[in-house]
């Protein structure tokens, strides 16, 4: 299949940047989206041009590194799929595909389609952990956990921190990410000790970094490649109210 690409090119964080048109020809429908960019980059390198810079790592949909805004959606138009797991069969022959970086004040563009998502790391560093006294490995069943809570905590922990929620949200809010990280601890006994401190500090850091405010549009849940539920946001709000009230 033949495709027309409109790709955001920006040489550096301070460069103004612009969209550049590329034609990619004779692409197999079974090619992954990132492989299609690889093919384009091979051609650019052969011509002596600068290849398109983009983030990727595992290419198995579990690391959270890939981050393209494709035809109006983070990670492209297919639901519950990361960019690396998206395949060209989801597009039409001759289609024009617009590819942009995540857009949010706390995610500045480093180059082309790569944005700096260190803001998420800073939120985790603030309080997204549990303090444990190290010692011998505890017995697997020493701490009883309700089955339902274990499942919910695991669902929240499925968040790969890719930033699609921020990219999708019209307010560039990070509430889905932060609430998933708050929830995965809040639901488990090990996380309860620092729960109040954690939720207050992570929310404060999120605000300080310049993420927007959640207006409950639920775009984040619809676009999340790991289908993180907005019930995590409600849980974080409950936790926050509880922490503030003492």
């Amino acid at each position: 299949m033949d495709l027309k690409l409109k790709i955001w090119r920006q040489a550096s964080p301070t460069d103004k940047g612009q969209f550049v048109d590329y034609d990619v020809l004779d692409i197999s429908p079974d090619t992954s989206f990132l492989e299609m960019i690889d093919i384009l980059n091979d051609k650019l390198v052969e011509k002596g041009d600068d290849p398109v810079a983009f983030d990727h790592d595992c290419r198995e949909g579990i690391c959270g590194m890939c981050s393209m805004f494709i035809n109006g959606h983070p990670h492209g138009p297919e639901a519950a799929t990361t960019t690396c797991q998206l395949h060209m069969r989801k597009f039409k022959d001759g289609e024009t595909i617009v590819i942009e970086p995540w857009r949010a004040k706390p995610f500045p563009v480093i180059k082309d389609l790569i944005v700096d998502r260190s803001a998420f790391d800073l939120i985790i560093q603030e309080a997204g952990y549990i303090s444990v006294s190290t010692g011998g490995t505890p017995d697997a069943n020493a701490v009883p956990i309700k089955r339902e809570n274990a499942e919910l905590a695991m669902d929240a922990a499925a968040c790969i921190g890719c930033g699609a929620c921020v990219a999708a949200c019209k307010n560039a809010s990070a509430m889905l990410f932060v609430s998933a990280k708050v929830s995965q601890f809040a639901l488990l006994p090990q996380g309860k000790v620092e729960a109040k401190k954690r939720v207050k500090e992570m929310v404060a850091k999120m605000d300080e970094l310049g993420f927007g405010n959640c207006t409950n549009t639920y775009a984040c849940e619809a676009e999340c490649p790991k289908e993180i539920s907005i019930t995590n946001i409600a849980r974080m709000n409950r936790q926050f109210i509880g922490a503030k009230l003492g």
């Binding site: 109006g72 942009e100 809010s173 207006t215 409950n216 549009t217 907005i230």
Partner: protein, 222 residues
């Protein structure tokens, strides 16, 4: 600009949602009183007289104004912060919002605010003697709010404006009601469907309720 807020984003949203639910309750009371006009002028005037003279209501109306002011203030503050959080937008962005009217809350909100000012000018300011020629009197010398309302609803342009504004209010409420529950953390799979349904029903019933009164008066059904 430093983004370190006095109140956190979540606190501001909780204040917004509590004030919003307060206003949601107020609309039910207001609609109930308005609906008296469908039954009789005397009943409507009695309701207006009660609201205009009851000591509790007289004090509480200032709490209500404060509720509006806080809701509007934080709505604008949150929106400005939201605009600032994405200095450069997308070239192509799909409509991803799952709550359809959530995209337009600031715009429907600002139009409702304009309507509120005009609405106060038409009724509350007249009642307070700050505008207009006073409230017409009945043959018994009592205030005839029903006549004031009916005279306004004789104008097709005013009725059209009123109906459009309440449709916008309906769009605002459709998102607002369920959104307040989500913000307050009251979202659980066992009852979330009910809250979303209740939100839609509330928005439709309140909008229709407010809209049929001027239409019935204009078309001389009541």
């Amino acid at each position: 600009m430093s983004n370190k807020p006095y109140y956190s984003s979540v606190t501001k949203k909780i204040i917004m949602s509590l004030m919003g639910l307060f206003l949601v309750t107020f609309l039910v009371v207001h609609l109930t009183l308005n609906s008296f006009l469908l039954f009789s002028n005397n009943l409507f005037n009695a309701g207006a007289h009660f609201m205009g003279t009851n000591a509790f209501i007289q004090v509480f109306q200032w709490v209500l104004f404060a509720g509006f002011a806080i809701h509007i203030f934080y709505g604008i503050v949150l929106q400005i912060q939201n605009w600032m959080s994405r200095p450069k937008g997308y070239k192509k962005r799909a409509s991803m919002e799952q709550s359809a009217f959530s995209r337009y809350m600031i715009y429907t909100g600002l139009l409702i605010f304009i309507f509120l000012i005009i609405h106060l000018g038409n009724f509350f300011f007249v009642k307070m003697g700050w505008a207009g020629n006073g409230i017409p009197l009945t043959s018994n010398g009592e205030e005839n709010m029903a006549q004031l309302v009916r005279s306004l609803f004789q104008h097709g342009g005013y009725v059209t404006f009123y109906v459009i504004m309440f449709l916008l209010m309906g769009f605002h409420l459709d998102h607002a009601f369920q959104s307040a529950f989500q913000t307050l953390g009251l979202n659980h799979k066992t009852y979330w469907g009910f809250i979303k349904g209740l939100s839609r029903v509330y928005a439709i019933v309140v909008t229709l309720g407010f809209v049929i009164i001027p239409l019935f008066v204009y078309f001389k059904i009541v």
